[in-house]
């Protein structure tokens, strides 16, 4: 246990579905990996790609974005916008050498505590297998500078 690498995952959960799914997982006493640290946003559409990059840069090994199922977003279609941004962000992360599995998107409705819990377990395992992200070495590269990375501009669709 002590020797095992424990990844840190930041979870951006939408207020209406996924945050409540996590609430429900707790209320139903569903046990899952304690590695995901949730942050509430009103809608998955609020998740600026900068948040994800920021989390990875600040030491997270992975990021989970969770929203309502398509068609069920509290704000009509914020989750679809989140999906589009996610696709672009993934393409960008790939180019930066960040493994696919580190940033994942999940639809979980307020009644799907179990789905959220299982996803966290699964992601924890996947990232554990990948090892620590070490953004400053992996992404910025060993050029010796402690750089403040320019905040990438949010790309749009």
């Amino acid at each position: 246990m002590t020797e095992q690498f424990e990844p840190v995952i930041v979870g951006f959960l939408c207020n209406w579905c996924s945050y409540r799914a996590a609430d429900l997982a707790g209320t139903a006493r569903i046990h899952y990996a304690p590695n995901m640290r949730p942050i509430r946003v009103m809608c998955s559409g609020r998740v600026d790609p900068q948040f994800v990059l920021k989390a990875l840069r600040e030491g997270a090994d992975g990021v989970l974005i969770a929203g309502c199922h398509p068609g069920e977003c509290h704000y009509v279609n914020g989750n679809i916008k989140a999906l589009r941004r996610f696709m672009l962000l993934k393409a960008m992360l790939r180019q930066m050498g960040v493994e696919e599995d580190r940033v994942q998107l999940l639809w979980a409705s307020a009644s799907e505590g179990i789905i959220l819990a299982r996803k966290v377990d699964q992601m924890t395992e996947e990232i554990r297998a990948l090892g620590p992200l070490n953004w400053s070495e992996k992404v910025i590269g060993g050029n010796g500078h402690k750089v403040a990375v320019a905040e990438p501009v949010a790309e749009e669709v």
Binding site: Y32, I39, C43, R46, Q50, K54, A55, E58, V153
Partner: protein, 673 residues
Amino acid sequence: MSEKVNPEQERVGVYVCHCGSNIAKVVDVEDVATWAADLPNVEVSRDYKFMCSSLGQDLIEEDIKEKGLTKVVVASCSPHMHEKTFRVACERGGLNPFMFEMANIREHDSWTTDDEVAATSKAKALTNAAIERVVHHQPLEQLPVEINPNTLVVGGGIAGISATLELANAGHHVYMVEREPTIGGHMAQLDKTFPTLDCSACILTPKMVDVGQHPNITLLTWSEVEKVDGFLGNFTVNVRKKARYVNEEHCTGCGICIEKCPFKVSDDIFEVGLSERKVIYRPFPQAVPKYPVIDKENCVYFQRGKCKACQIFCPTEPNSIEFEQEDEILSFDVGNIILATGYDLFDVKKIPQYGYGRLANVFTSLEFERMVNASGPTEGSIVLRDMESTPKSVAIVHCVGSRDENYHKYCSKVCCMYSLKFAHLVHERIPEAEVYNCYIDMRTPGKGYEEFYNRLLEEETNFIRGKVAEVTDAARIPEEEGKLIVQVEDTLIGRQRRVPVDMVILSPAMEARADSKEISQLFKMGCDFDGFFVERHPKLDPVATMTDGIYIAGACQGPKDVPDSVAQGAAAAARVAGLINLGTVMMEPVRASINQDECSGCKICNNMCPYNAIIFHEDREVSEVITALCQGCGTCVAACPSGVITGAHFTNDQLFSQIEGILWDVRPEKVTA
């Protein structure tokens, strides 16, 4: 971002809750509280048995007053549980309620693991995130919104009628918009209603008449909503009132025009194709309103310029037939909207092995319903497609398209009951006939429903438990000649059976209206995968939607029988009446705003907004958020390439600080943020 707060000067109070043993059993709450006491900005940090108790709240109140706290963090349960409680406590202490943040260390932490070390470290991360976030909180004021006392009800089925009458009888004005020429919906087509078998028309028509005559109701039939703008309390709707070609002020509804019209077409809607109607028509005699409508597509005058029989024979002065009438667009304001657009029936032709359309004597439930209706095409006699022979045996197939992986997975809830009703009606009208009900499971939950099932068992209906595989006319033995053969596995005796019958009735799934997706977009609320409208909460808020001011009732929310539709109609009306009585409501100030000085005018946000709440000022080339329309999702904030849109209470500063805070233990040593 233009933050007024100076984080250095903030004094934060941190309160870590034990929640009895709910949190304290797994999280070392004392450790978290002591640890937090040393964090920057923290003025006081405590742990307490029950923070939500009045003593716990007093603690916060006193500290605000005595220690001059400017911000408060409570690490306890979910904000969905107690955020309001603690905001109010802060307010009592003299702080703006938004100077508060909650860390969810119960639902998201102590209840999800037994690992005390991990749980405690997660609790620290969540608490620290809340502390780092809260120092960036800004005071916000709730937004007062006035409620226009008029209401729009869309759909004049029994659910819409129920909602409309409740509101109108309580003294409020209602606009009812119905797409067909008459109100009544599906219930008007039914003969008897289970389980009491009272005649549908007898209980429905008085209500329809009430709607037609009520001084508080503006009834717009043959009309559709085209546009909806606005928000809770202040919607503006545009309604297209289709040309009826009959002047509603002059027409007395005498019906002479219908009588004199020389042309007939198949009545595919009300009589589901079983009989014909005139080209100028009223769907059924008790239609409300009573004015007929000309079916332009089939009218010989409109198509060929000749006829005008209706006009020639119209006895009113001035003449009520107006061929030159055009669609009208009406615009009016309402405070709330109730959607009661009902359901469609599953198209049974999608299951070709059941033979509908190919085998003449396979009927749909709605066809049968019209047939047994005394005012229907056969005046109540049950006959085969030749419209004269009486069937000696009838099979009723439950769950056609329901509880089926290939079509709809859900149970349509009412089909078992009306299939039993059909069996009863066949026994009643043709006592010597054999009736077979093929069902998967018999579902009769409801007051008096199981009793009705027992009654049918006594009436000696043949119940076959099994899903019908096929309906065919290919006989294998002489007894099957000229019959329809229902091939079904009787799971109770574990055998395949071939049941030869004269008539087959299919009970199709109730499904969402074909246009439910467009309707949900028009009203800016959600529908689920199946197309049914989504309620705010499946148990605790079944008639509200996620959009303030929009309510749903009846079968548009999911399959439902008449009693449930009526109850939902009344429930939606009660919700609306409550708001009307309040007059003004306060809305969460979680809204976006655009810094007008820095907006580059790229318009990217304009299309992002699902509520069209962002307008573009052509003259100044900047965008602006209409605060009252904004619902606070933050999509535009994330989309703005210049970063000049602020999402109140979810600002970039607040979220970035929260991210930093949540990663306190793993952050690479101080990268410039």
